[in-house]
Amino acid sequence: DEVLTIETSVPFTSHKCEPPSRSVQTTPKELMGFFQDMALMRRMEIAADSLYKAKLIRGFCHLYDGQEAVAVGMEAAITRKDCIITAYRDHCIYLGRGGTLVESFAELMGRTGGCSKGKGGSMHFYKKENGFYGGHGIVGAQIPLGCGLAFGQKYTKDETVTFTLYGDGAANQGQLFEALNIAALWDLPAILVCENNHYGMGTAEWRAAKSPAYYKRGDYVPGLKVDGMDVLAVKQACLFAKEHALKNGPIILEMDTYRYHGHSMSDPGSTYRTRDEISGVRQERDPLERVRKLILGNDIATVAELKDIEKQAKKEVDEAIAKAKESPMPDPSGLFSDVYVKGYGTEAFGADRKEVKSVLP
């Protein structure tokens, strides 16, 4: 495959490190893959929106559309031996790690076919065999957890790294500073990826952070500010970060990105930001459109071919939903499974303990 060298949209801004080059190496195949992956993610999230409105998905549901370049660019730089952990906005990260659409939708609809057998829900997707550790619902808590994964990697001398994703809102959490300090003291191969979509729920970054320079958080750890809407910039930054982390310990990547949807399905997403702002980002920075332009500009595929890919994505999503709907609800016995790995034969009780109980294996 031919190698292309493409300039990132904007330069990297660096803190306490030499930034990587703006010239990113890629191939037509990689670009086509990026387009395909992002189109699929975009479609999945739009479908999830509909399923939610049709009341087939319950509770919280946080969509990732707009931020796809982060998930996709990161995967292009790392292997499945590297670990990823993120927050509740986890559908696309899961897909990027090799999760399937059917398992995603089945989980969202609370079916046994889900990646957590319907027990986790939207916020709790996992794929441990591919290095994906969730899906965490408590803002900021995944940051020490991710540093702990990195601890495990260092302890077992695996020469791999962990990417810990969190939002701009989460970046103010004290446990970030605690974990970062320990990661730095212990030289853990931990990469903190702040997905700065500029809002934590309805709060603009500057209202929540005196210093919204998230790539400088903690000050003593190197950091890089990256255009998170540019999949190639993300890939370049992640390659750089992985190399850095293996040699020197933690590093922070701030991904400048945007979520098109509201925070979750109960948030219209339009009271704290203008429609112009949203459509401006869509028009000028959309990650999928950027790749489309690159593909067309480099004569890698035609407009129609790309449209076909998008149609194919829609078809895959629709088929997956149909399949997921066929997956049954969990068996009632599932209420008591997986409370423990080892239950020692003790009894666990249902709401009416005289009526429903179970012996934990």
Binding site: G59, H136, G137, Q173, T203, G334, A348, A351, K357
Partner: protein, 336 residues
């Protein structure tokens, strides 16, 4: 007149802020966003950003700041978006708020309220569904209230804000939109309910059912069903988990001789366990049947709708337990 629990809480906050300039509200999204669940709607506009403060998502930090402000003499109302997130700040609630008046022999009082939705909502999974009633109510120095109806919500929240001690105020997201009739008296800005007193929601003769928050509604529905079968259930709305109104509970059991406790939280060391023990301690000889405990299943909350339904008490669970307590036979089901 009818009023939703949301309106009741909102009006209570509004009235107390208007009555006492020392009262202020802080928490995530309470201001410009009008509250994640719109409890604080309109308050920012009315009282301004000095008294309605949007905080970063840093529970330990803002809770500590709220408590420090209470040390100084203000009357903060700290909202947790849900009580699950209060775990990030629980050291402050226990060690900085609950114990200070005691450790300082009365010098450092902490007149404030921690409030927000507690326990299970719908489809929000294991990390967002925990009930903290028993944890907080185990701690001397705290008062723990949990309203059911709109009248409860108004009367208890207003009492909590006026109280000179730290009050943990456990709401329920699924009740916010529910409407209840409210009396004219309850609409008066002077209205409060007494802390530490349960309410007999429905009088009965054959069995006592205790419940709090959303489960009071279930207990009342169960009592309706039971009455059709000739069982007269007395339903106690606890309102206050700490102080627990042992007198009202024991008096009722001394009358009915049978007890069913209902709660959505985990069973072990739960509210039901305490109520059962209190009745054994004070009214042992009055009990004609074993106490029946209905509680959340002893598992983390599953997401799937069918499992979730099994994980929290249903009306039929209460009915079945009440009948058991009354020695009505019920078919024994197989273990799950």
């Amino acid at each position: 007149k009818e009023m939703t629990v949301r309106e009741a809480l909102n009006s209570a906050l509004d009235e107390e802020m208007s009555a006492d300039p020392k009262v202020f509200l802080m928490g995530e999204e309470v201001g410009e966003y009008q509250g994640a669940y719109k409890i604080s709607k309109g308050l920012l506009e009315k009282y301004g950003p000095e008294r309605v403060l949007d905080t970063p998502i840093t529970e330990a930090g803002f809770t500590g700041i709220g408590i420090g402000a209470a040390y100084y003499g203000l009357r903060p109302v700290v909202e947790f978006m849900t009580f699950n997130f209060s775990m990030q700040a629980i050291d402050h609630i226990i060690n900085s708020a609950a114990k200070s008046n005691y450790m300082s022999a009365g010098q450092l009082s902490v007149p404030m309220v921690f409030r927000g939705p507690n326990g299970a909502a719908a489809g929000v999974g294991a990390q967002h569904s925990q009930c903290y009633a028993s944890w907080y109510a185990s701690c001397p120095g705290l008062k723990v209230l949990s309203p059911y109806s709109s009248e409860d919500a108004r009367g208890l929240l207003k009492a909590a804000i006026r109280d000179p001690d730290p009050v943990v105020f456990l709401e329920n997201e699924l009740l916010y939109g529910e409407s209840f009739p409210v009396s004219a008296e309850a609409l008066d800005s002077s209205f409060t309910l007494p802390i530490g007193k349960a309410k007999i929601e429905r009088e009965g003769k054959h069995v006592t059912i205790t419940a709090f928050s959303k489960m009071v509604g279930y207990a009342l529905k169960a009592a309706d069903i039971l009455s059709k079968e000739g069982i007269s259930a007395e339903v106690i709305n606890l309102r206050s988990i700490r102080p627990l109104d042992r007198n009202t509970i024991n008096a009722s059991v001394r009358k009915t001789n049978r007890l069913v406790t209902v709660e959505e939280g985990f069973p072990q060391h739960g509210v039901g366990a305490e109520i059962c023990t209190s009745v054994i301690e004070e009214s042992f000889e009055y009990l004609d049947a074993p106490v029946e405990r209905i509680a959340g299943a002893d598992v983390p909350m599953p997401y799937a709708a069918n499992l979730e339904r099994m994980a929290v008490p249903q009306i039929e669970d209460i009915v079945r337990a009440a009948k058991r307590a009354c020695y009505r036979s019920v078919p024994m089901a197989a273990a799950a």
